[in-house]
Amino acid sequence: MCLWLNFEKNCVATLGICTNKTSSILTTEAVNRPFLYPVSKTCFRSRTSARVKMKRSKGGGDEEAPRHNGSAGRRKADQQQSDGDEGGSDIGPADLQDDDNDQGLRREIRSKYRDLISSVQQNREDMLSPSNNKLTEVLEEANKLFKDVRQAREAALDAQLLVVATDLGKEKASQLFSEGTAFDPTAFAEHLLSFMGLNRLEDDEDEQQNTANGYLPQDAWHRLARRAECCFRTAPSFHYMMGSFYAEPPPPKQRIERQRKAPSKEAKRIMPTQLKKMEESQQEATEKEVERILGYLKSYYQDDPTSPISYYEFVIDPSSFSRTVENIFHTSFLIRDGLARMYLDEEKLPCIAPVEEGEVEAGGSTSRKQCILSISPKIWKELIDAFDIKDSIIRPPNTQND
């Protein structure tokens, strides 16, 4: 594994570490800049020598850690003088063995490294700010972790963290030397939010908070888009004035809330696509119909809760095949939403029953089973004869849409 870190211009160090060779090459041109923490002062001596130690413990060789020119900086606040050979840590062979094999500890270390890396990445703008020393803190944390590093995997993560941290260090340095005001993306975002008309809440006085409370108005992005028009020389798009059809789907309408738990994230995503496909009036009509059918099911069930309701008797309308199909369609919504359930009775015939109020569990832990029903006029007639269905349980709606 080879790790090269370069700083430009006024920045600190050029260094390279080759761990696949027998010696580590490390040159630092350390410049004593108090705010440039990475690399030159703190980390690499200890890391280099620890790697050498790892090689030794694996019976690798008898390399010595090289002499370093450059700073004699230390990685801890207590200014211990440490020889490169010893690596600044007193661990005997026996300890190496145990720590090496402790999988839990290994995992923990790797996980902590990953957390550190991700925190540097997520809070990059924060760390860039010259007003704090968060970058130093991260590096000190990394130093602590490194003491327990024994295997290549962890060292690789350590190296990755250093790459990220030194990258940040470089940028911090360049900020100091660039002319003009630095660009602060956080402030930019805040100003944009105000521009877009963010309505902040009354009690928002906490300046430490990075995220503003409040809500964006509906036309927030449109406001920004209109301002963008003044910066863009976009060619206006050509459209027919009176088009032959409106290609865009209509905006999704709010679904009528039904008795169920708040929709899970999946449901949130499924909803808009479904709604977009249906046109408005059909959408409402379907829902009304489904509710109506639920009503029939419940009242029929309440009449005699002990006797099972045959599914076929429930959905079939002996006077109209198309109404039967509609009933099956609408009933399937009840099943899907967990408001009704289907089961087989002793004779393996399908029955349907409403789900009790307390049992309602949309998308809950019950395993979902799906099946596809098909029905043809021939089968429909056979069912009518077999079950001797004279009347439909589900009354046709008053307004026929056939």
């Binding site: 997520q122 990059r124 703008e125 939010l193 020389r233 060619a235 206006p236 050509f238």
Partner: protein
């Protein structure tokens, strides 16, 4: 692409001879077809490839292609106030931009596209940061998150944000999302796309920055210098000057 490789630009004398064999009406008709093709393609802001243009529209008239393109460019300019711009001399791609000055205020009549607002935010960040932003810095995504747009979630207005930024805007050439070589794992960086270079005024963006931060745009000296450098230094060349 294959079509384009076999398409050799006819010489001026070839064009002359080709024109002699056609009536003016025929040439006008073909020019009009090319204009309409461009206008429709521009609806989605997708660039037009020369290969497609020749294959689908110009067809048999390919021997007078340069003349047709020249006339189309003139039509765009004189009739529509648009400029035909070649954004990629190597791959021969064209776009249409507005030839008129950017307005001081948005047009009250035409509906605005909210995606342009998001694009403005992204382009501004990239510009203020010197023209390149590595994705691994999370700068772009973090800024969007602060604006209540989370690339990990489906957004109310924009849908799949990640796809919009790294795919749609890139195909439209507003952004460039390129792989940084020799990175493992693969990393990308964001830059302005060729369309942005042609369409978007850096000076105006800086002006907007000044308004937002209540500062004089000149305080960002490096960006100011870049925004007010020679007018054509970062602009794509027009088709009339680089027909090749």
């Amino acid at each position: 692409e294959d079509d384009d490789a076999t398409f050799t630009q006819p010489s001026t004398s070839q064009v002359q001879r080709g024109l002699e064999k056609l009536t003016p009406a025929q040439v006008d008709q073909k020019t009009a077809e090319v204009v309409q093709y461009f206008l429709v393609k521009d609806q989605k802001k997708m660039p037009v490839r020369r290969a497609d243009l020749v294959k689908h529209v110009v067809k048999d008239y390919r021997n007078i292609y340069p003349e047709i393109l020249k006339r189309a460019a003139r039509t765009f300019d004189q009739v529509f106030g648009l400029k035909l711009v070649e954004i990629d001399p190597k791959n021969k791609m064209y776009i249409l931009v507005n030839n008129l000055e950017t307005p001081d205020k948005a047009s009250p009549v035409s509906p605005s596209n909210p995606k342009m607002g998001l694009l403005l935010a992204i382009l501004s960040v990239i510009f203020m940061k010197g023209g390149v932003v590595r994705e691994s810095e999370y700068l772009i995504w973090n800024t969007l998150r602060k604006l209540r747009v989370d690339p990990g979630e489906k957004h109310e207005e924009f849908g799949d944000v990640r796809k919009m930024v790294t795919d749609e805007f890139v195909r439209q050439r507003y952004l460039e999302y390129v792989r940084i070589p020799h990175t493992e794992p693969i990393e990308h960086e964001f830059r302005w796309g060729q369309r942005a270079d042609a369409e978007v005024s850096k000076a105006k963006i800086l002006e907007f920055m000044g308004e937002l931060h209540e500062q004089d745009p000149k305080t960002w000296t490096q960006q100011y210098r870049q925004a007010h450098s020679l007018p054509n230094s970062s602009q794509a060349s027009t088709s009339s000057s680089s027909q090749r």
